[in-house]
C-alpha cells in the first residue's frame, strides 16, 4: 500500500479517535473529583493539549530565540549585546528599520483607508458582492506570484527599445520616461512602489472586515440621525466612524503585523537592493545566507519587541470595551 494512503487514513480516522479518546479520558480522570468542583477542573483538562502545543511551538521557540540573540554565530558562547549593537549600528539593518517604519505607516494608511472607503461606497450599490469579490481576489494570489506579476508592471527597457512594462508603456504614451522604477531610491520611491503591491493585495481583506462591521451598525440609528437633519458626511463622521473604530483597530493591527513581516515582495522584486531592504529579509539573510543564528535571532527579538506596543494597545482597548459592558 502506498505509504501516503496509509498516512491519509491514519490522519482522517486517527485524529478524531484520539480527540474522542481524550474527552473520554478526562471524564475518567474527573470521576473521583467531587461533583461541584468538576466544573472548574474540566475546562483546564480540555485546554491542556492546546496549552502544550502553545508551549512547545510558541513559548519554547520564543525563549530559545531570545537566548540565541545573546549568543555568537553558531550559538556556542554568549556575546552579550554584540548582536544588538550590530543591529543598531550597521547601515544595512538601520536602512531596513527605516524602510519597515515606512511599510508600517504607509501600508496601514493605504489598506485601511481604501478598505474603509470601498466598504462604505459599495454598501450602497446593487452589485456589492461582485465589486467586493473583485477587490478581494488579489489576496488569494501568493505573494511571490503577485510580486512576479508586478515585476512586469515595473519592467524597464532602455530608451528606444519597446517598453514591455505596463507602467513604462503608459508613461511612454505621454513621452515620459522610461523609468527604472525599482531603482528609484530618491524619496524611497521604489519602497513605496513595493508597498503599493502589498496594498493591492490587502485592501480587499480590510474592506471585507470593515464591510461586515458596517452591516452590524443598526439602520435605525442612522435613520434617526437623518430625520434629525444630519448630512451624510455627519452621519459618517459622528455615527458610522466611531462605531467602526474597534474594527478598524483590529484590522490595523493585522496590517501592521503584515507590514512588519513583509519579505516575499522585497525578496522577489529587488532582492533588498537599491535601499529597499526590510527587517524580515535581513533576518533571513543573516540566518540562511550567512548562517549567523545570533544576529538573526536579534532581529527576530527586535521585531517581537516592536509588535508588543501594538499588542498592548489592542488589549487595553479590549479591556476598555469590557468595562463599558
Amino acid at each position: 500500500m502506498d505509504p501516503r494512503l496509509f498516512t491519509a487514513i491514519a490522519v482522517v480516522v486517527g485524529v478524531p479517535l484520539v480527540l474522542l479518546g481524550y474527552i473520554v479520558l478526562t471524564e475518567q480522570v474527573l470521576r473521583p473529583v467531587p461533583d461541584r468542583r468538576r466544573g472548574t477542573v474540566r475546562p483546564w483538562l480540555w485546554l491542556t493539549p492546546a496549552l502544550v502545543f502553545l508551549a512547545v511551538f510558541l513559548v519554547y521557540p520564543t525563549i530559545g530565540t531570545i537566548i540565541k540573540s545573546f549568543q555568537n554565530t553558531s550559538g556556542t558562547e554568549f556575546v552579550g549585546l554584540d548582536n544588538y549593537i550590530y543591529f543598531f549600528t550597521s547601515p544595512s539593518t538601520l536602512g531596513a528599520l527605516k524602510n519597515n517604519v515606512l511599510w508600517v505607516i504607509l501600508l496601514t494608511l493605504l489598506t485601511v483607508g481604501f478598505g474603509m472607503l470601498i466598504a462604505v461606497l459599495v454598501d450602497r450599490v446593487r452589485y456589492e458582492s461582485v465589486a467586493k469579490a473583485v477587490i478581494f481576489l488579489p489576496l488569494a494570489i501568493s505573494m511571490v506570484a503577485a510580486s512576479v506579476i508586478w515585476r512586469f508592471m515595473f519592467l524597464y527597457a532602455p530608451p528606444g527599445q519597446p517598453q514591455v512594462g505596463t507602467l513604462n508603456a503608459f508613461a511612454g504614451l505621454f513621452n515620459f520616461g522610461p523609468f527604472a522604477w525599482l531603482q528609484l531610491q530618491d524619496f524611497s520611491i521604489n519602497t513605496v512602489l513595493l508597498i503599493v503591491v502589498m496594498a493591492w493585495m490587502w485592501t480587499g481583506f480590510c474592506m471585507v472586515i470593515i464591510s461586515a462591521a458596517l452591516k452590524g451598525i443598526s439602520v435605525e440609528l442612522m435613520e434617526a440621525a437623518r430625520v434629525d437633519g444630519a448630512t451624510e458626511w455627519q452621519v459618517f463622521r459622528r455615527i458610522v466612524f466611531p462605531l467602526l473604530l474597534p474594527t478598524l483597530a483590529v484590522v490595523a493591527t493585522t496590517i501592521v503585523i503584515t507590514a512588519l513581516k513583509a519579505f516575499d515582495i522585497v525578496y522577489v522584486m529587488t532582492g533588498g537592493n537599491f535601499d529597499t531592504q526590510v527587517m524580515a529579509q535581513s533576518m533571513i539573510t543573516q540566518m540562511f545566507t550567512n548562517g549567523n543564528f545570533g544576529r538573526a535571532s536579534a532581529v527576530a527579538v527586535v521585531l517581537l519587541l516592536t509588535i508588543i506596543p501594538v499588542m498592548l494597545l489592542n488589549i487595553r482597548r479590549f479591556q476598555a470595551q469590557e468595562a463599558i459592558r
Partner: protein
C-alpha cells in the same frame, strides 16, 4: 446584536494576538523545508545487496528497490541533463534517485545541517559553504576509488574539495569563466583575438560604429543579483594584480580598499559606463538575457563577458555556435600573469553513506557519466577523460581550462557567504551610482573584518 459584535471583536483580538506572537517568532523557528525532509525518510536500511566500501566506478551491484535522495540547484533543462546522467546508473543498479531541484539550496542545507534532516547527496553552493558543513559531510575517501579520481581530475579541483585532509566534495561539472562573446556577423575576431586589454580597447574603437555600445551587461539575478559583476572584478583582479593577490583577496588578507582591488572596480566602472542602455539597464537586465542585444539588428553591443554556460541561456540557446556567436579568452592586462584562468564548478557532497548513495556518487565522477551532460551541452566536464563535446566552441572552452597555467576558482564562491552576499550587493550599488565607490569599498572592508573572524 451588540453582544455578538463584542464577541466577534473579542475573538478577532484573540486571533490577532496569537498572530502577533506567531509572527514574531515563527520566522526563526521555521520548520526544515519539505524538500529536505524527504531526505531522511528515504534513507534505506543497510542492505545486503550493497557493493560496500570503495565501489569501482562502473560497478554498483544490485540495489533494486533502494533509493537515493538528491538535492541540487539544477532545474528545467539542467535538471533534465542531470537526470539523463543518472539514468544509466538507475538502469544498471535498479535503484531510484529522488531528485529535488531548488534555487534555495543554501536555505535547505543550512536548516538541514542544523536539524540533521538532510538528503543523501547534495549539490553544494561553493567551496566556502562546503567548508562550513565539513563536519556533516561524509569523507569520500571510503566511497570513491581515490587514486583513480585524483588521476582523472585537475589537482586544483581535488584540493578545493578537500577540507582538513578529508575529501568531502567532488566536482561533477565545471565552467570556464571570463570568456568574451561576440557575433562574428557584426565583428569577427575569431582569427585575431585581442591578446591584451589594450588590443581589446582598440578593437572597440575600430568597431565603434557597428553597434550601439561596446559592451552588453546584465547583473539581475533575483536574490543573487550582482554576481555577473563579481566575475568581472575577479577577472580583472586576476589579470591586473595576479593570482597571488587574487588568493589573498578571497582569503580576506587583502582589503577591498587596497589599490589593487580598487583599480579593478574602476576598470569595471568604465565597462559599465560604456554598456548597452546604461546603468539602469544593467541592473534591470537578467544575466541570461544580457547578451540578447548582440544578435539584434542593429546590434546593441559588440561584446558580452560571461562564463561558458551562457551558450545554454537566453538568445544563445537558439543561435548557432560558430556562425552566430563565438568567443575569445579574456585578454591579458599585465603580461606577467599570462595564462591565469578563472573557472567554477558544481560541487557535490554526501550526507548519508548508504550503499545506494555511495554507488551513485561513484558513478557521477566517472568519465562515461560526465560525458552524458557534456554531450547535451552547457557543461564542461570535471573528469579529464570526458571529452564528448558537441561543438568546437565547447571543445575550445574545455581546452582553456585544461591548458590553464594557473587555475583560479571563482573568488566570490570561495569567500564566506556573508562576504559574497555583500560583494553582490556592492556590485549593484556601484552600477547604480559609481560615485559611491569609496563608501561601498569601505563597507565591504567592514564586512570582511567581520565575516572572516572565527565564529
Amino acid at each position: 446584536m451588540e453582544e455578538l459584535g463584542h464577541r466577534r471583536s473579542r475573538i478577532a483580538v484573540l486571533i490577532a494576538t496569537v498572530a502577533i506572537v506567531a509572527a514574531a517568532c515563527s520566522s526563526t523557528s521555521s520548520s526544515p523545508s519539505s524538500a529536505a525532509s524527504t531526505g531522511a525518510s528515504s534513507a534505506p536500511a543497510p542492505s545486503t545487496g550493497g557493493s560496500g566500501a570503495p565501489a569501482p566506478s562502473s560497478a554498483g551491484g544490485d540495489l533494486t528497490g533502494q533509493s537515493v535522495s538528491v538535492i541540487g540547484t539544477w532545474t528545467s533543462d539542467e535538471e533534465k541533463a542531470f537526470r539523463s546522467m543518472v539514468a544509466p546508473w538507475e538502469a544498471k543498479t535498479g535503484a531510484k534517485m529522488n531528485y529535488t531541484g531548488t534555487r534555495d539550496l543554501n536555505t535547505v542545507l543550512t536548516t538541514g545541517v542544523a536539524s540533521g534532516v538532510l538528503p543523501d547527496l547534495a549539490g553544494l553552493p561553493g567551496p566556502g559553504q562546503m567548508a562550513q558543513w565539513a563536519d556533516s559531510l561524509v569523507d569520500l575517501g571510503g566511497v570513491l576509488d581515490v587514486p583513480t579520481y585524483t588521476s582523472e581530475t585537475a589537482p586544483a579541483l581535488v584540493t578545493l574539495g578537500t577540507v582538513n585532509d578529508k575529501l568531502v566534495g567532488v566536482f561533477i561539472k565545471t565552467a570556464v569563466k571570463g570568456l568574451i562573446w561576440f557575433d562574428p556577423k557584426t565583428v569577427d575576431l575569431t582569427a585575431t583575438p585581442p591578446a591584451t586589454w589594450d588590443d581589446l580597447q582598440k578593437a572597440i574603437t575600430d568597431n565603434k560604429s557597428k553597434a550601439a555600445s561596446p559592451w552588453c551587461l546584465g547583473v539581475e539575478s533575483g536574490a543573487a543579483s550582482g554576481w555577473p559583476g563579481t566575475d568581472w572584478i575577479e577577472d580583472l583582479v586576476l589579470r591586473q594584480a595576479g593570482p597571488d593577490v587574487y588568493a589573498q583577496w578571497y582569503q580576506g588578507k587583502v582589503k577591498w580598499t587596497d589599490p589593487a582591488i580598487k583599480t579593478a572596480w574602476t576598470t569595471f566602472g568604465d565597462v559599465v559606463a560604456s554598456s548597452f542602455g546604461g546603468s539602469a539597464t544593467v541592473n534591470a537586465t537578467n544575466f541570461a538575457n544580457a547578451g540578447d542585444p548582440l544578435f539584434k539588428t542593429p546590434p546593441g553591443c559588440l561584446f558580452l563577458h560571461q562564463a561558458s554556460f551562457i551558450t545554454g541561456l537566453g538568445a544563445f540557446k537558439t543561435a548557432t555556435a560558430g556562425t552566430d556567436y563565438n568567443f575569445f579568452q579574456f585578454p591579458d592586462i599585465n603580461t606577467q600573469y599570462t595564462g591565469a584562468v578563472e573557472g567554477a564548478g558544481d560541487l557535490f557532497g554526501m550526507f548519508h553513506d548508504t550503499p545506494a548513495a555511495k554507488s551513485l556518487m561513484a558513478w557521477l565522477v566517472t568519465a562515461p557519466a560526465q560525458d552524458i551532460w557534456v554531450k547535451i551541452g552547457g557543461a564542461l566536464s570535471a573528469n579529464k577523460n570526458a571529452t564528448d563535446y558537441p561543438d568546437d566552441i565547447s571543445k575550445r572552452s574545455a581546452a582553456i581550462l585544461t591548458n590553464a597555467k594557473t587555475f583560479a576558482f571563482d573568488a566570490s564562491d570561495l569567500m564566506p557567504s556573508a562576504m559574497n552576499d555583500a560583494f553582490w550587493k556592492g556590485i549593484v550599488a556601484y552600477i547604480k551610482d559609481p560615485s559611491q565607490l569609496d563608501s561601498i569599498l569601505t563597507n565591504l572592508d567592514t564586512v570582511q573584518a567581520d565575516a572572516y573572524a572565527a565564529p
